[in-house]
Protein backbone atom coordinates (compact mmCIF):
# COMPACT_ATOMS: atom_id res chain seq x y z
CA UNK A 1 0.00 0.00 0.00
CA UNK A 2 1.37 3.31 -1.06
CA UNK A 3 0.85 5.72 1.77
CA UNK A 4 1.73 9.29 2.48
CA UNK A 5 5.18 8.92 4.04
CA UNK A 6 4.61 10.86 7.23
CA UNK A 7 1.02 10.78 8.19
CA UNK A 8 -1.00 7.81 9.32
CA UNK A 9 -4.73 7.48 8.83
CA UNK A 10 -5.60 9.03 12.15
CA UNK A 11 -9.31 8.65 11.66
CA UNK A 12 -9.24 4.91 11.88
CA UNK A 13 -6.71 4.60 14.65
CA UNK A 14 -9.64 5.50 16.80
CA UNK A 15 -12.11 3.17 18.41
CA UNK A 16 -14.34 0.89 16.41
CA UNK A 17 -17.40 2.83 17.38
CA UNK A 18 -15.96 5.91 15.72
CA UNK A 19 -15.70 3.96 12.49
CA UNK A 20 -19.22 2.73 13.07
CA UNK A 21 -20.62 6.21 13.36
CA UNK A 22 -18.90 7.00 10.12
CA UNK A 23 -20.38 3.99 8.34
CA UNK A 24 -23.91 4.65 9.55
CA UNK A 25 -23.37 8.36 8.88
CA UNK A 26 -22.69 7.86 5.20
CA UNK A 27 -25.46 9.30 3.04
CA UNK A 28 -28.44 7.06 2.26
CA UNK A 29 -27.55 6.70 -1.38
CA UNK A 30 -24.11 5.37 -0.52
CA UNK A 31 -25.41 2.84 1.97
CA UNK A 32 -27.97 1.76 -0.62
CA UNK A 33 -25.23 1.44 -3.20
CA UNK A 34 -23.25 -0.77 -0.79
CA UNK A 35 -26.34 -2.87 -0.12
CA UNK A 36 -26.93 -3.23 -3.84
CA UNK A 37 -23.80 -5.36 -4.06
CA UNK A 38 -25.33 -7.89 -1.67
CA UNK A 39 -27.68 -10.73 -2.30
CA UNK A 40 -31.32 -10.07 -1.54
CA UNK A 41 -31.36 -11.88 1.78
CA UNK A 42 -28.06 -10.35 2.88
CA UNK A 43 -29.41 -6.90 2.16
CA UNK A 44 -32.68 -7.67 3.95
CA UNK A 45 -30.81 -8.83 7.05
CA UNK A 46 -29.33 -5.36 7.48
CA UNK A 47 -32.84 -4.16 8.34
CA UNK A 48 -32.36 -5.28 11.95
CA UNK A 49 -28.90 -3.74 12.43
CA UNK A 50 -30.39 -0.53 13.78
CA UNK A 51 -33.17 1.93 13.03
CA UNK A 52 -30.83 3.78 10.71
CA UNK A 53 -30.62 0.71 8.48
CA UNK A 54 -34.24 -0.41 8.85
CA UNK A 55 -35.70 0.39 5.43
CA UNK A 56 -32.64 1.09 3.31
CA UNK A 57 -32.46 -2.44 1.89
CA UNK A 58 -35.76 -1.83 0.09
CA UNK A 59 -34.03 0.70 -2.13
CA UNK A 60 -31.36 -1.62 -3.47
CA UNK A 61 -30.93 -1.69 -7.22
CA UNK A 62 -28.87 -4.86 -7.50
CA UNK A 63 -30.17 -8.37 -7.87
CA UNK A 64 -33.53 -9.66 -6.72
CA UNK A 65 -32.52 -13.29 -6.79
CA UNK A 66 -35.22 -15.41 -5.19
CA UNK A 67 -32.88 -18.22 -4.41
CA UNK A 68 -34.65 -21.42 -3.51
CA UNK A 69 -32.19 -22.21 -0.72
CA UNK A 70 -33.49 -19.22 1.19
CA UNK A 71 -36.59 -21.29 1.77
CA UNK A 72 -34.79 -24.07 3.63
CA UNK A 73 -35.66 -22.29 6.82
CA UNK A 74 -39.33 -22.25 6.01
CA UNK A 75 -39.25 -25.82 4.87
CA UNK A 76 -37.64 -26.92 8.10
CA UNK A 77 -40.28 -25.15 10.07
CA UNK A 78 -43.13 -26.36 7.93
CA UNK A 79 -45.20 -29.25 9.27
CA UNK A 80 -46.32 -29.90 5.75
CA UNK A 81 -42.97 -30.14 4.07
CA UNK A 82 -44.10 -33.18 2.14
CA UNK A 83 -46.73 -31.09 0.43
CA UNK A 84 -45.09 -29.09 -2.33
CA UNK A 85 -48.18 -26.90 -2.58
CA UNK A 86 -47.34 -25.33 0.76
CA UNK A 87 -43.80 -24.54 -0.33
CA UNK A 88 -45.08 -23.19 -3.58
CA UNK A 89 -47.48 -20.87 -1.83
CA UNK A 90 -44.75 -19.73 0.51
CA UNK A 91 -42.38 -19.11 -2.36
CA UNK A 92 -44.96 -17.08 -4.25
CA UNK A 93 -45.88 -15.11 -1.12
CA UNK A 94 -42.21 -14.44 -0.48
CA UNK A 95 -41.65 -13.03 -3.95
CA UNK A 96 -44.86 -11.01 -3.81
CA UNK A 97 -43.99 -9.71 -0.34
CA UNK A 98 -40.57 -8.48 -1.45
CA UNK A 99 -41.94 -6.92 -4.62
CA UNK A 100 -44.47 -5.06 -2.54
CA UNK A 101 -41.74 -3.69 -0.28
CA UNK A 102 -39.24 -2.84 -3.00
CA UNK A 103 -38.85 0.90 -3.49
CA UNK A 104 -36.05 1.48 -5.99
CA UNK A 105 -36.89 2.54 -9.53
CA UNK A 106 -34.48 0.12 -11.16
CA UNK A 107 -33.08 -3.36 -10.65
CA UNK A 108 -30.18 -5.10 -12.34
CA UNK A 109 -31.54 -8.60 -12.07
CA UNK A 110 -34.74 -10.45 -11.34
CA UNK A 111 -34.41 -14.16 -10.87
CA UNK A 112 -36.93 -16.77 -9.80
CA UNK A 113 -36.11 -20.45 -9.58
CA UNK A 114 -38.86 -22.70 -8.23
CA UNK A 115 -41.27 -25.37 -9.44
CA UNK A 116 -44.53 -23.52 -9.92
CA UNK A 117 -47.90 -24.57 -11.21
CA UNK A 118 -49.52 -23.07 -14.23
CA UNK A 119 -53.11 -22.92 -13.01
CA UNK A 120 -52.11 -21.40 -9.66
CA UNK A 121 -49.30 -19.10 -10.54
CA UNK A 122 -49.84 -17.62 -13.96
CA UNK A 123 -51.09 -14.26 -12.69
CA UNK A 124 -48.26 -14.00 -10.21
CA UNK A 125 -45.69 -14.73 -12.85
CA UNK A 126 -47.18 -12.17 -15.21
CA UNK A 127 -46.99 -9.65 -12.40
CA UNK A 128 -43.36 -10.49 -11.73
CA UNK A 129 -42.48 -9.96 -15.37
CA UNK A 130 -44.34 -6.66 -15.48
CA UNK A 131 -42.68 -5.60 -12.24
CA UNK A 132 -39.25 -6.41 -13.69
CA UNK A 133 -39.89 -4.53 -16.89
CA UNK A 134 -41.20 -1.53 -15.01
CA UNK A 135 -38.02 -1.53 -12.94
CA UNK A 136 -35.97 -1.55 -16.14
CA UNK A 137 -34.46 -4.92 -15.38
CA UNK A 138 -31.21 -5.79 -17.15
CA UNK A 139 -31.21 -9.53 -16.58
CA UNK A 140 -34.45 -11.45 -16.24
CA UNK A 141 -34.26 -15.12 -15.40
CA UNK A 142 -37.27 -17.41 -14.95
CA UNK A 143 -36.66 -21.02 -14.04
CA UNK A 144 -39.82 -22.94 -13.18
CA UNK A 145 -38.43 -26.40 -13.48
CA UNK A 146 -40.38 -28.62 -14.03
CA UNK A 147 -42.54 -26.13 -15.80
CA UNK A 148 -45.83 -26.81 -17.46
CA UNK A 149 -45.08 -26.29 -21.10
CA UNK A 150 -48.11 -24.18 -21.75
CA UNK A 151 -46.93 -21.67 -19.19
CA UNK A 152 -43.47 -21.46 -20.67
CA UNK A 153 -45.00 -20.79 -24.04
CA UNK A 154 -47.32 -18.17 -22.64
CA UNK A 155 -44.49 -16.39 -20.89
CA UNK A 156 -42.40 -16.52 -24.00
CA UNK A 157 -45.18 -15.15 -26.14
CA UNK A 158 -45.85 -12.50 -23.57
CA UNK A 159 -42.24 -11.39 -23.52
CA UNK A 160 -41.76 -11.62 -27.24
CA UNK A 161 -44.80 -9.44 -27.73
CA UNK A 162 -43.08 -6.86 -25.59
CA UNK A 163 -39.81 -7.31 -27.39
CA UNK A 164 -41.41 -7.08 -30.82
CA UNK A 165 -43.19 -3.95 -29.71
CA UNK A 166 -39.87 -2.31 -28.97
CA UNK A 167 -39.08 0.57 -29.10
CA UNK A 168 -42.61 1.43 -28.04
CA UNK A 169 -41.73 0.05 -24.62
CA UNK A 170 -38.80 2.06 -23.36
CA UNK A 171 -38.60 -0.10 -20.25
CA UNK A 172 -37.23 -2.87 -22.44
CA UNK A 173 -34.27 -0.77 -23.41
CA UNK A 174 -32.51 -1.97 -20.26
CA UNK A 175 -33.11 -5.68 -20.76
CA UNK A 176 -29.85 -7.26 -21.80
CA UNK A 177 -30.36 -10.86 -20.95
CA UNK A 178 -33.40 -13.04 -20.67
CA UNK A 179 -33.28 -16.61 -19.48
CA UNK A 180 -36.18 -19.03 -19.45
CA UNK A 181 -35.50 -22.55 -18.38
CA UNK A 182 -37.61 -25.66 -18.32
CA UNK A 183 -36.99 -29.31 -19.19
CA UNK A 184 -39.41 -29.29 -22.09
CA UNK A 185 -38.67 -25.89 -23.40
CA UNK A 186 -35.13 -24.90 -22.83
CA UNK A 187 -33.67 -21.89 -24.49
CA UNK A 188 -31.83 -18.81 -23.65
CA UNK A 189 -32.79 -15.52 -25.11
CA UNK A 190 -30.44 -12.61 -25.21
CA UNK A 191 -31.98 -9.25 -25.81
CA UNK A 192 -29.78 -6.32 -26.63
CA UNK A 193 -30.90 -2.71 -26.36
CA UNK A 194 -31.77 -2.82 -30.04
CA UNK A 195 -34.40 -5.13 -31.32
CA UNK A 196 -32.46 -5.77 -34.51
CA UNK A 197 -29.86 -7.53 -32.49
CA UNK A 198 -32.35 -9.64 -30.60
CA UNK A 199 -31.43 -13.27 -30.81
CA UNK A 200 -33.07 -16.39 -29.53
CA UNK A 201 -30.67 -19.14 -28.74
CA UNK A 202 -32.11 -22.58 -28.38
CA UNK A 203 -30.56 -25.42 -26.45
CA UNK A 204 -32.60 -28.45 -27.44
CA UNK A 205 -32.07 -31.62 -25.45
CA UNK A 206 -34.98 -33.66 -26.70
CA UNK A 207 -37.14 -34.12 -29.76
CA UNK A 208 -40.19 -33.00 -27.87
CA UNK A 209 -38.43 -29.81 -27.04
CA UNK A 210 -37.47 -29.08 -30.61
CA UNK A 211 -41.09 -29.28 -31.56
CA UNK A 212 -41.96 -26.70 -28.96
CA UNK A 213 -39.13 -24.50 -30.02
CA UNK A 214 -40.31 -24.58 -33.56
CA UNK A 215 -43.56 -23.23 -32.36
CA UNK A 216 -41.76 -20.29 -30.83
CA UNK A 217 -39.77 -19.76 -33.95
CA UNK A 218 -42.94 -19.67 -36.04
CA UNK A 219 -43.89 -16.44 -34.37
Amino acid sequence: MELGSKSQPQKCDETKSFCMDRLSDLPNEIIVSILSFLKLKEAARTSVLSRRWGHLWKFTTGSLDFDDSSLQYLRKKSFFKTLPGIDRDRYVSWVNHVLQLHQAHTIDEFKVDFPLKEECNKLDIDNWILFSLRKKVKRLSLDFDPIITGLARDITLFLLKFLMGFPKFPELRSLKKLTLISPLLHFRAEASPFLQKFTLERQPTSIQQTRKNNKIEDL
Binding site: G4, K11, C12, R22, L23, V48, L49, R51, S70
Partner: protein
Protein backbone atom coordinates in the same frame (compact mmCIF):
# COMPACT_ATOMS: atom_id res chain seq x y z
CA UNK B 1 5.61 20.21 4.16
CA UNK B 2 5.63 19.02 0.60
CA UNK B 3 4.65 15.45 -0.12
CA UNK B 4 5.19 15.11 -3.81
CA UNK B 5 3.66 12.17 -5.57
CA UNK B 6 5.79 9.06 -5.89
CA UNK B 7 5.75 9.22 -9.63
CA UNK B 8 8.15 6.58 -10.95
CA UNK B 9 8.37 8.38 -14.25
CA UNK B 10 9.92 11.80 -13.63
CA UNK B 11 10.63 12.37 -17.31
CA UNK B 12 6.90 12.45 -17.98
CA UNK B 13 6.01 15.69 -19.61
CA UNK B 14 2.34 15.54 -18.63
CA UNK B 15 0.98 18.45 -16.66
CA UNK B 16 0.93 18.21 -12.90
CA UNK B 17 -1.68 19.46 -10.51
CA UNK B 18 -1.06 20.10 -6.86
CA UNK B 19 -3.69 19.02 -4.35
CA UNK B 20 -3.69 20.23 -0.78
CA UNK B 21 -5.25 17.95 1.81
CA UNK B 22 -7.05 18.74 5.06
CA UNK B 23 -3.82 18.29 7.01
CA UNK B 24 -2.00 20.69 4.65
CA UNK B 25 -0.01 18.07 2.78
CA UNK B 26 0.73 18.84 -0.84
CA UNK B 27 0.35 16.16 -3.49
CA UNK B 28 1.63 16.72 -6.99
CA UNK B 29 -0.31 14.42 -9.28
CA UNK B 30 -0.58 13.95 -13.00
CA UNK B 31 -3.39 15.84 -14.58
CA UNK B 32 -4.89 12.63 -15.97
CA UNK B 33 -5.18 11.22 -12.45
CA UNK B 34 -6.49 14.41 -10.89
CA UNK B 35 -9.15 14.75 -13.59
CA UNK B 36 -10.71 11.48 -12.47
CA UNK B 37 -11.92 13.40 -9.44
CA UNK B 38 -14.81 15.42 -10.83
CA UNK B 39 -14.68 17.85 -7.94
CA UNK B 40 -11.06 18.63 -8.78
CA UNK B 41 -11.82 18.77 -12.48
CA UNK B 42 -14.62 21.25 -11.89
CA UNK B 43 -12.40 23.41 -9.72
CA UNK B 44 -9.58 23.22 -12.25
CA UNK B 45 -11.83 24.21 -15.13
CA UNK B 46 -13.34 27.08 -13.19
CA UNK B 47 -9.84 28.31 -12.47
CA UNK B 48 -8.95 28.06 -16.11
CA UNK B 49 -12.05 30.03 -17.06
CA UNK B 50 -11.07 32.68 -14.60
CA UNK B 51 -7.72 32.80 -16.34
CA UNK B 52 -6.04 32.64 -12.98
CA UNK B 53 -4.23 29.46 -13.67
CA UNK B 54 -2.38 30.09 -16.88
CA UNK B 55 0.65 28.74 -15.09
CA UNK B 56 -1.02 25.35 -14.85
CA UNK B 57 1.03 23.17 -12.61
CA UNK B 58 1.49 25.77 -9.95
CA UNK B 59 -2.21 25.81 -9.17
CA UNK B 60 -2.95 24.41 -5.74
CA UNK B 61 -6.38 22.89 -5.33
CA UNK B 62 -7.52 22.62 -1.72
CA UNK B 63 -9.31 19.48 -0.57
CA UNK B 64 -10.42 20.41 2.93
CA UNK B 65 -12.40 17.19 3.40
CA UNK B 66 -9.68 14.73 2.45
CA UNK B 67 -6.88 13.56 4.72
CA UNK B 68 -3.44 12.97 3.17
CA UNK B 69 -3.42 9.27 4.10
CA UNK B 70 -6.73 8.78 2.31
CA UNK B 71 -5.71 10.78 -0.74
CA UNK B 72 -2.51 8.74 -1.03
CA UNK B 73 -4.63 5.59 -1.15
CA UNK B 74 -6.97 7.01 -3.71
CA UNK B 75 -4.09 8.03 -5.94
CA UNK B 76 -2.53 4.63 -5.51
CA UNK B 77 -5.88 3.08 -6.52
CA UNK B 78 -6.01 5.26 -9.64
CA UNK B 79 -2.57 4.12 -10.69
CA UNK B 80 -3.12 0.45 -10.00
CA UNK B 81 -6.53 0.04 -11.50
CA UNK B 82 -6.92 2.08 -14.61
CA UNK B 83 -9.35 -0.41 -16.11
CA UNK B 84 -13.05 -0.20 -15.52
CA UNK B 85 -15.09 -1.96 -12.85
CA UNK B 86 -16.66 -4.32 -15.36
CA UNK B 87 -18.71 -7.00 -13.68
CA UNK B 88 -16.78 -10.23 -13.34
CA UNK B 89 -18.45 -12.88 -15.44
CA UNK B 90 -17.00 -15.95 -13.81
CA UNK B 91 -16.23 -17.15 -10.33
CA UNK B 92 -12.44 -17.10 -10.69
CA UNK B 93 -12.42 -13.55 -11.95
CA UNK B 94 -14.71 -12.53 -9.11
CA UNK B 95 -12.32 -14.06 -6.56
CA UNK B 96 -9.38 -12.16 -8.06
CA UNK B 97 -11.33 -8.94 -7.88
CA UNK B 98 -12.30 -9.67 -4.31
CA UNK B 99 -8.64 -10.08 -3.38
CA UNK B 100 -7.85 -6.78 -5.05
CA UNK B 101 -10.59 -5.12 -3.05
CA UNK B 102 -9.30 -6.63 0.16
CA UNK B 103 -6.03 -4.72 -0.17
CA UNK B 104 -7.67 -1.46 0.71
CA UNK B 105 -7.64 -1.97 4.43
CA UNK B 106 -10.02 -2.22 7.30
CA UNK B 107 -13.69 -1.30 7.10
CA UNK B 108 -12.73 1.96 8.81
CA UNK B 109 -10.24 2.72 6.03
CA UNK B 110 -12.91 1.87 3.51
CA UNK B 111 -15.38 4.26 5.08
CA UNK B 112 -12.72 6.99 4.80
CA UNK B 113 -12.08 6.08 1.18
CA UNK B 114 -15.81 6.05 0.41
CA UNK B 115 -16.34 9.44 2.04
CA UNK B 116 -13.41 10.89 0.13
CA UNK B 117 -14.43 9.34 -3.19
CA UNK B 118 -17.92 10.70 -2.64
CA UNK B 119 -16.63 14.19 -1.86
CA UNK B 120 -14.31 14.10 -4.87
CA UNK B 121 -17.14 12.79 -7.06
CA UNK B 122 -14.91 9.92 -8.14
CA UNK B 123 -17.54 7.48 -9.36
CA UNK B 124 -15.35 4.58 -10.37
CA UNK B 125 -13.55 4.59 -7.03
CA UNK B 126 -16.76 5.02 -5.10
CA UNK B 127 -18.21 1.92 -6.72
CA UNK B 128 -15.06 -0.05 -6.07
CA UNK B 129 -14.86 0.85 -2.39
CA UNK B 130 -18.58 0.38 -1.87
CA UNK B 131 -18.19 -3.12 -3.18
CA UNK B 132 -15.13 -3.68 -0.99
CA UNK B 133 -17.22 -2.71 2.01
CA UNK B 134 -20.07 -4.95 0.88
CA UNK B 135 -17.59 -7.84 0.84
CA UNK B 136 -17.33 -7.48 4.63
CA UNK B 137 -21.10 -7.78 5.08
CA UNK B 138 -21.57 -10.62 2.62
CA UNK B 139 -22.97 -13.79 4.14
CA UNK B 140 -22.47 -12.59 7.69
CA UNK B 141 -24.87 -12.67 10.58
CA UNK B 142 -26.41 -9.51 11.96
CA UNK B 143 -24.47 -9.97 15.20
CA UNK B 144 -21.19 -10.23 13.31
CA UNK B 145 -21.84 -7.15 11.20
CA UNK B 146 -22.82 -5.15 14.29
CA UNK B 147 -19.67 -6.18 16.12
CA UNK B 148 -17.38 -5.79 13.12
CA UNK B 149 -18.56 -2.27 12.35
CA UNK B 150 -19.44 -1.39 15.93
CA UNK B 151 -23.05 -0.72 15.02
CA UNK B 152 -25.23 -0.34 18.08
CA UNK B 153 -28.61 -2.04 17.75
CA UNK B 154 -31.25 0.40 18.94
CA UNK B 155 -34.38 -1.68 18.38
CA UNK B 156 -36.41 -2.87 21.32
CA UNK B 157 -36.13 -6.67 21.48
CA UNK B 158 -39.75 -7.15 20.43
CA UNK B 159 -39.30 -4.80 17.46
CA UNK B 160 -36.26 -6.70 16.26
CA UNK B 161 -38.11 -9.96 16.71
CA UNK B 162 -40.92 -8.63 14.58
CA UNK B 163 -38.53 -7.84 11.73
CA UNK B 164 -36.83 -11.19 12.07
CA UNK B 165 -40.18 -12.91 11.76
CA UNK B 166 -41.34 -10.82 8.87
CA UNK B 167 -38.08 -11.41 6.97
CA UNK B 168 -37.51 -14.96 8.25
CA UNK B 169 -36.33 -16.02 4.78
CA UNK B 170 -33.33 -13.73 5.12
CA UNK B 171 -32.02 -15.30 8.31
CA UNK B 172 -30.89 -18.76 7.36
CA UNK B 173 -27.60 -20.19 6.15
CA UNK B 174 -25.42 -17.52 7.73
CA UNK B 175 -21.80 -17.69 8.95
CA UNK B 176 -21.53 -16.79 12.57
CA UNK B 177 -18.06 -15.24 12.39
Amino acid sequence: MSNTSENPNPSSSSAKITLKTSDNELFEVEEAVAMKFCTVKQYFEDEKDNDVAARGSSTVIPLPNVHSAVLARLISYCKKLPQSNAVADNHEEEETKKKERKQYGTPGDLVDLISAANYLDFKEGLEFFNQALADHIQNKSVEYVRKFFGIKGDFEPHEEEKYREEYAWAFEGVDED
